[in-house]
């Protein structure tokens, strides 16, 4: 019974939150990695793109809510998501046309592109705060919990409760669907194959008649879809605050690099590595161990490796460690 209690405790506070967070990071990191693979620069504006897509989605959600349209138990935001994606797509296409294309044709240094993305980040950050303000916005509705901690305790007769939020399930389901679609696209369709060829060897791809503008456009489209989805899922699960997305940029970058830059599988892997390390390293194992060991061995302290304040720092420590020990990331080799 104690082992079961310990397992449930672990699942409730580590396994489920880390999986959900990992799915959100993976979606973000996929976008970063895609831009890395096709346009070959670190897109500092990605966090703000997530915020922008989420902002448009929130506006659409509010509109739907006021019109009385909803999905019953599911959050209305899912219905509004396509609108947000359209907004983000428009945003990236405009920025690409106005900012990046000129430099791409000149084959500018990737660092110049990164600095440009800083400029784009400023503009997007301003727009987001201009449209929706810097404060917390609540836009989730529908059923909140699938399983409540109390109900679970009654059902199973255990001391520890297990709570699963609907938003957590939605995050994982949507993430799996989006990632599945992305891989199908990259592996099976003509456009996807063209993208892989372009990312592998730009000159050869050009010689074989692949239109670079089209490849870049598709890359931006997919990035906008991924970023908006990630932003909305994060906002639904936790809360929407423009500032948070700036902070999220760093774990997202970390996930992309840890997994191996330019590798979609790596980005997913990296997302989960970062999420699980953040949660496991900052979790206090006192209660967990108390269930497992005999009473007299029970720990006095919190048995916590790092205080939760350093949650964000963990991802950077891993990032730096990976850059030092294995700069290629977990998955080496060809990109995309």
């Amino acid at each position: 019974m104690d082992i079961l209690n310990a397992l449930v405790l672990f699942a409730n506070f580590v396994l489920i939150p880390a999986t959900v967070y990992g799915a959100q990071l993976a979606l973000g990191a996929l976008g970063v990695t895609l831009i890395f693979a096709i346009l070959r620069f670190a897109n500092f504006a990605h966090g703000e793109l997530m915020a922008f897509g989420a902002t448009i989605t929130i506006l659409a959600t509010w509109f739907l809510q006021s019109a009385g349209v909803g999905l019953g138990p599911l959050p209305t935001a899912l219905l509004a998501l396509p609108v947000g994606i359209l907004g983000a797509v428009a945003m990236v296409l405009v920025t690409d046309r106005m900012v990046y294309r000129f430099y791409r044709r000149k084959r500018a240094d990737p660092i110049i592109m990164a600095i440009l993305s800083v400029g784009v980040m400023f503009v997007m950050a301003g727009l987001v705060r201009f449209i929706i303000g810097p404060d917390d916005q609540n836009f989730s509705d529908g059923v909140r919990f699938l399983i409540r901690a109390g109900e679970f305790k009654q059902m199973s007769g255990l001391n520890e409760g297990l709570a699963i939020k609907l938003s957590q399930v939605i995050t994982v389901v949507v993430a799996v669907a989006v990632v599945g679609l992305l891989f199908w696209f990259l592996q099976k369709t003509r456009a996807g194959k063209a993208m892989r060829a372009y990312s592998d060897n730009e000159d050869l791809a050009l010689l074989s008649g692949i239109d670079p503008d089209r490849v870049v456009m598709i890359a931006w489209l997919i990035t906008a879809v991924l970023a908006t989805t990630a932003g909305v899922l994060y906002g639904l699960d936790k809360s929407f605050k423009p500032f948070i997305y700036m902070q999220l940029l760093l774990p997202v970058f970390a996930a992309a690099i840890v997994g191996g830059v330019g590798q979609p599988v790596g980005a997913i892997l990296g997302g989960f590595v970062i999420a699980f390390s953040e949660v496991t390293i900052t979790y206090a194992y006192k209660k967990f161990l108390t269930y497992l060991v005999p009473a007299e061995w029970a720990p006095d302290g919190l048995v916590q490796l790092l205080s939760t304040d350093y949650k964000f720092a963990v991802s950077f420590i891993i990032l730096v460690a990976v850059l030092l020990i294995r700069p290629t990331g977990i998955i080496r080799g060809k990109v995309l």
Binding site: F41, A42, M98, V99, F102, P110, I111, I112, A114, I115, L116, V118, G119, V120, M121, F122, V123, M124, A125, G126, L127, R129, F130, I131, G133, P134, F243, M246, L250, F253, A254, I257, G301, L305, L306, S307, D309, Y310, F312, A313, S315, F316, I317, L319, V320, L323, L324, I325, P327
Partner: protein, 431 residues
Amino acid sequence: MTRQGYLYFAIMAALLLAVGFGQSWNVALGILNLCLISAIMSLGVNIQWGYAGLFNVGIMGFAALGGLAAVLISVPPVQEAWAAGGVGIGLSLLILIATVVVVILLRRVTPDFAKLWVTVAAIVIGLAVIGIVYGPAVERIEAINPAHTGYLGGLGLPILLSWIVGGVVAAGAAWLIGKISLGLRADYLAIATLGISEIIIAILKYEEWLSRGVKNVTGLPRPVPYEVNLVKTDWFVNFVGWFGADTVDAASVFVKLCYAILFLIVLGIIMWLSERALKSPWGRMMHAIRDNRDAANAMGKDVTWRHLQVFVLGCAVCGVAGAMMTTLDGQLTPSSYIPLRYTFLIWVMVIIGGSGNNWGSVLGGFVIWFLWIEAEPLGNWLMQVITISMEDGYWLKEHLIASAAYTRLIMMGAILLVVMRFAPRGLIPER
């Protein structure tokens, strides 16, 4: 500097004077002081980017270290806290160093396949041991008069000293960080430095025994007179009376002026050193490395070592600027450090001014800080004009006016993008 450069600086001076006459001298000097600090920061970034092509986005962290130095130098020590937890903190530090040494040694002797696990195990054990000593010590320190101190305090030395110490601390951190990350590809270096600066801020925020964390250290001693004392001083009252100005206002202006003179001296020294360095054989070598790394390497220049050198120098300058900023504010507020303001805005300054040109960086610091501040009234005015035809209380009008402050972000981004597109060499291009 070119004739155009002089013209830009003249326009800048005229703008500041216009603010002085139009708004108030207090505002103008307030802007000037931060312009000077911004100019120093962008000089630091220019040393890294303009001389050597290093993309460092960890400026925030080094500025914050400078700020920490200001606290640790100037605040009087808290004796009770030292007595309660000084030994514990010292011991934890020793164990930390021991852990690092052990990890390095272990990594040398263990075979490749076990390296990762041995490293992880050693780190976990080290952290656990530190936790035993460190936790109680921190608790004891933070329990001592938490409303006022609750930290170890500083050395109680004059705060001006911290401007030098801030530079040294930042340089030390930069050496460590540079050692680790300078071998990386340019964009990885950017991400690594961004992460490291966040870690530094996290430490300042949550290690309350060190910096009081989010409770902030306020009321740092000043290198210049206090307003309340000034208005009671005879010579000052006479002096002001001679001008026929309001004493309280004049005191505030006088204090800001004192700061401005101090900052100007520092800027002058750093500027002189930077120009000398740039024109020396060392400067030419750095340019050679920046423009063609491989060729410079082939000519026998140690590129990695030179990069480390220039990284440390640039970060030291940022540290000095950070210490100056904390001195000016009179307080250290770790939660106010955000990358948009302390890292990316400085980058905008360097790019606008003209990377590689010291005068350009100084000008960039002035122009961008001036716009950053004046964008707010400008944005407000713009929104008033746009909404003039709308009725009062209409939601869009309210919203637009409330959000006017954020036009400054949009403006900064737009300026950066436009300058990079149409004047990629900046306002004062590199010769």
